[in-house]
């Protein structure tokens, strides 16, 4: 099977769906990049080059560069979704959610319900999250928790190229508003990705490692860190179940609970702030539904409750690292 990067997999999913369905459009800032300029009209393909090549193939009617105007982008996507298109709207950095959140959580997420099931919002918001690039407090946040709490939105967090392609095709075909959160650290990572189209259903967790001592649940790139830790600990005889829920809404609660019922220990990792976050949410679900199986207190590994600092040493200290995950596993293993 061919090896593709996360970036290529996402690009391929969009191109394939645009070929298959002429109502799929891409709209956002610099999604081609070069509109109105005298140089290359497809110069950017989004800041991270993820949409590059779509403009030459599909043209300006379907790959639409917008002004810097997030509310209008999200509103236009939601409105066009109600009126027959299947837009993929790019929100350049997830941090800009605040600028356009009303169009997402009060509008796109609520059409179907408020209008008695008679309206539809088949749109995808592709966005990019995550710290570690020294982007500072307004360019490094992962706000997946904010969208996960909104009924009506589906939320996807692909952690590798294979999942990214299958989940994005699923998202484009889905009839609800899907927030597709790409981790900016993963664009250059690669794995085997089929050329054909395939879908991965929402709400089905992926077991990356199977083990009997500790369940580790990660979100986004923290899953990959958890796998590295699990592999190291396996050499010492500590065996971990590593679960990637892949979608935070819907969330595969059953997979997590079943795992905790065999291991009796849970470490939950996310790269968000600790209060009211996904790690807190998953912890509470397990505490409520699998309390009897627990042999140790649940351990959350998250960022700290502060904005994201710029200085590299501080940012590294802010982010959950493999060493933090490892320490958490040892702590739950050592609980008496």
């Amino acid at each position: 099977m061919p090896i593709k990067t996360y970036r290529q997999a996402i690009n391929e999913a969009m191109a394939m769906e645009m070929r298959r369905d002429s109502t799929v459009i891409v709209i956002g800032e610099d999604v081609a990049g070069g509109a109105g300029c005298s140089g290359d009209r497809d110069a950017y393909g989004g800041v991270m080059g993820v949409t590059k090549g779509l403009f030459p193939e599909f043209g300006e009617a379907r790959v639409i560069d917008t002004p810097i105007t997030e509310s209008a982008i999200m509103g236009a996507a939601a409105g066009s979704a109600q009126a027959g298109l299947r837009p993929i709207a790019e929100l350049m950095f997830m941090d800009f959610l605040g600028v356009c959140f009303d169009q997402i959580y009060n509008q796109a997420a609520k059409f179907r319900y408020m209008f008695g099931g008679k309206a539809e919002c088949p749109m995808v918001v592709r966005t990019m999250a995550g710290a570690g690039l020294r982007g500072g407090a307004q360019h490094s946040q992962n706000l997946t928790q904010m969208v996960t709490m909104v009924p009506g939105l589906k939320v996807v967090c692909p952690t590798n190229a294979y999942d990214a392609k299958g989940l994005l095709i699923q998202a484009i075909r889905d009839n609800d508003c899907v927030i597709f959160v790409e981790d900016k650290f993963l664009y250059e990572t690669s794995c085997e990705v089929p050329d054909e189209d395939y879908t991965i259903p929402f709400g089905e967790a992926n077991f990356l490692r199977e083990g009997s001592d500790v369940t580790i649940v990660g979100i986004s790139n923290t899953v990959n860190k958890a796998v590295a830790v699990a592999d190291r600990l396996a050499a010492e005889g500590i065996s971990c179940d590593v679960i990637d829920p892949r979608t935070t809404s819907p969330l595969d609660e059953d997979a997590i609970i079943e795992s905790v019922e065999t291991t009796g220990r849970l470490v939950v990792v996310d790269e968000m702030t600790p209060r009211c976050g996904l790690a807190a949410d998953i912890s509470s679900i397990v505490a409520e539904k699998a309390f009897g199986a627990l042999r140790a207190p649940i351990k959350k590994v998250t960022a700290v409750h502060s904005p994201i600092p710029f200085a590299p040493d501080l940012e590294d200290a802010w982010m959950p690292q493999e060493a933090d995950i490892e320490a958490a596993v040892r702590e739950v293993m050592g609980y008496k």
Partner: protein, 323 residues
């Protein structure tokens, strides 16, 4: 009458300081000494310098992701700025902000903003404070052509008009928002005309000419200080660098940047005009260039030598009280 001798030399020094600062941070970025994203102001120096020449430390400005020039023009400490951009202890934001959040709060430079369109609403607030407190201070937002399209900017302009606030909306139209041309993204083709439609006066100026910028800004600041409400200035200018350092700029025509750097360099234009107007001699200007070069070199060396903030600083300054 525009800039006298002393005013010109001051403005020229500011422009030169910004240019040298930007080229030095570009070099350091290339060597891996600056983390994160870097958006340089090179080419646009006349605008920040021409505006801030009319402001005191009591007046407020707010900036964008391209904030180094505004910060220097408002009197920010260059040494602290260097440290900040390098993520070092002693930086203007204690190493927590970086390039996109450069600030000099004590000088009335209330911060660079990495959210496009984040600044204009805030500057309306600063202008509101100025008016409510009965001062004659003014508040200036610097915004790009790209930022001129944000809803936040429209709302801010309208509110400033409604409340008749001493706010100046300075738009630096450098032709691009990342890789998209202003000709495409600004539907009205004219930011000043849009501002006028909100009900405020709007001036247009050649942003490469420090004399013209200085005069337009003088009018704008006087308008606000006299309590006549908000005003807009649209300055046209070119961006010498990519959107960010490392931007290949494929969206620009081959040779475009080179040509603009030859024809539209505000420093070259300033030198030529000043000598013609007998405001300065070549020797005087060369002396300033030399002094600035030394000053920037010292600041950069000090920045490189400084340590990163201690990790114990991670949880400080989140709240103003014990949490």
């Amino acid at each position: 009458m525009s800039l006298d001798k002393k005013q010109f030399l001051d403005a020229y020094r500011t422009m030169r300081t910004i240019r040298d600062f930007e080229y030095r941070v570009s070099d350091e970025f290339g060597k891996g000494n600056i983390p994160g994203f870097l958006h340089l102001y090179a080419g646009q120096e006349a605008i920040a310098s021409g505006m801030c020449a009319h402001l005191t430390d009591d007046d407020y400005i707010m900036s964008t992701h391209r904030g180094h020039g505004h910060c220097i023009a408002k009197g920010g400490d260059v040494g602290e700025m260097m440290k900040e951009i390098m993520g070092k202890e002693g930086g203007s934001c204690a190493g927590k902000g970086g390039s996109m959040h450069i600030a000099a709060i004590e000088k009335g430079m209330l911060g660079a903003n990495a959210i496009v369109g984040g600044g204009p609403p805030l500057i309306v607030g600063a202008a509101l404070a100025n008016k409510t407190l009965g001062t004659d201070r003014v508040a200036v937002s610097f915004t790009g052509d790209g930022g001129s399209n944000q809803g936040t900017t429209f709302e801010a302009m309208n509110l400033a008009v409604v409340l008749k606030l001493p706010a100046i909306f300075m738009f630096e139209n450098n032709g691009y928002g990342e890789g998209t041309a202003a000709d495409y993204s600004v539907g009205s083709k004219d930011i000043a005309g849009r501002a006028a439609a909100f009900g405020m006066p709007a001036l247009k100026v050649d942003g490469a000419d420090i004399f013209a910028v200085y005069d337009a800004c003088k009018e704008a600041v006087e308008h606000c200080r006299a309590g006549k409400g908000p005003i807009t200035v649209e300055a046209s200018i070119t961006r010498f660098r990519g959107h960010f350092e490392g931007d290949a700029q494929a969206y620009r025509e081959k040779g475009e940047v080179k040509r603009l750097m030859e024809d539209m360099d505000c420093l070259k234009i300033a030198r030529a005009n000043a000598i013609k107007k007998k405001l300065a001699t070549k020797a005087q200007l060369d002396k300033i260039d030399k002094e600035v070069a030394e000053y920037i070199a010292e600041s950069a060396e000090a920045g490189l030598a400084a340590p990163q903030p201690s990790v114990s600083e991670l949880m400080t300054d989140i709240y103003s009280s014990e949490y």
